[in-house]
Subunit: 162 residues, 2 copies
C-alpha cells in the first residue's frame, strides 16, 4: 500500500472511488485542462458569458466533500483561496461565485465563477434563466484579463499544493 493510498483513505460509506466508465469526469478532463495536481485538476470552462470561469475537479471519483480524505479537503481549500485571490487581482469581477453541486454529474467538482453586473444572469445564479445576452465579447479588456488569469493560474499554486 503506497503512502498516497493511505493519505487518500475515503469515507467507507462512499459507494465508489474507482474510475467509472459512465462518468464524464472519469473518462475525460471535463473541459480545457489548465493545471493538474496529485488530487485535483483545474479546467477552463470557456463560456462566453463568463470569461475566466474555472472548475476544480477531483481526479478520482468521489461524490461529496466529506467522502474524501482530509489531505484532499485541505488541498481543495488552498486551491479555492489561491484561485479566487488571483481571479480578483487579475479579473476584478463584480462578484465571485463558488459552488459545488454535482446533481447531474456526481463526481466532486467546484465552480469558481467571475460575475459581472452585465453578465447573462446577474444578479441570479448562472443556473437561473438568463436575463440578457452575453455581452462579454464586446468587452476586449475583460477577455484579455480572462486570458491573462488563465495563463497565470498554472504557475500560481504555492509549493504546498501538489
Amino acid at each position: 500500500m503506497s503512502i498516497l493510498s493511505i493519505l487518500m483513505k475515503s469515507d467507507p460509506n462512499e459507494p465508489s472511488s474507482e474510475a467509472r466508465d459512465d462518468c464524464p469526469l472519469c473518462t475525460g478532463d471535463g473541459a480545457r485542462l489548465i493545471w493538474r495536481g496529485a488530487f485535483w485538476r483545474a479546467v477552463a470552462v470557456d463560456d462566453p458569458g463568463y470569461p475566466g470561469y474555472v472548475r476544480l475537479i477531483l481526479n478520482r471519483h468521489c461524490t461529496e466533500l466529506t467522502a474524501i480524505s482530509s489531505i484532499e479537503q485541505e488541498q481543495l481549500f488552498k486551491l479555492l483561496i489561491a484561485m479566487e485571490k488571483l481571479m480578483r487581482e487579475i479579473l476584478a469581477p463584480d462578484k465571485v461565485n463558488i459552488a459545488s453541486l454535482g446533481n447531474q454529474v456526481p463526481h466532486l467538482h467546484w465552480h469558481i465563477i467571475p460575475r459581472w453586473k452585465d453578465d447573462p444572469c446577474f444578479p441570479d445564479s448562472i443556473w437561473s434563466t438568463p436575463r440578457r445576452e452575453a455581452m462579454q465579447a464586446a468587452n476586449p479588456a475583460r477577455l484579455a484579463a480572462a486570458k491573462d488569469f488563465l495563463s497565470r493560474l498554472p504557475t500560481l499554486c504555492p509549493k504546498t499544493i501538489y
Copy 2:
C-alpha cells in the same frame, strides 16, 4: 487593538467590514438562528422544498472569501465539513450542494443544501426553474430527520470552532 481585531485583519481592498444599515445580514440574523460563533453563525432556512437547508453567515460585513482573515477562512472550512458530515449522517440526502453566491446580498454567506431526487428543482440548482411541487411535506421521515439534524447542529461544533 484587541487580539480579535488583529486576527480579523481583512483585505485592505475590501470596501467595508463595518455593519451596514442597508444589508439584511448586518441588520438581522438572516433566517432562524440556530448557532452563533465568534466569526460565523448558522441559520435554518425553513424552505418546504429543502428541509434541513442551512446557511453559514459571516457575522461581520465582508463580501468575498479572500477578503476575510485566515482564521475566519479556517473556521468556515471546519464548519462546512462538520455540517455536511452531520447532514449526511442524519438526513442522508441524495446529494449535498454547497455554494457561496452573494450577488443579491453581498455579505459573505454559504448555502449547505440537502438535495433529493424528488425535490422541486433536482437535478438542477435550487435557483433554477422548478420542475415540480415541493413533495417533502408528504415525507414525514424526512421532515423528522431534518428537525433532528437542526437540533443537533448547535452541539456538533468541535471545540476548535469558536
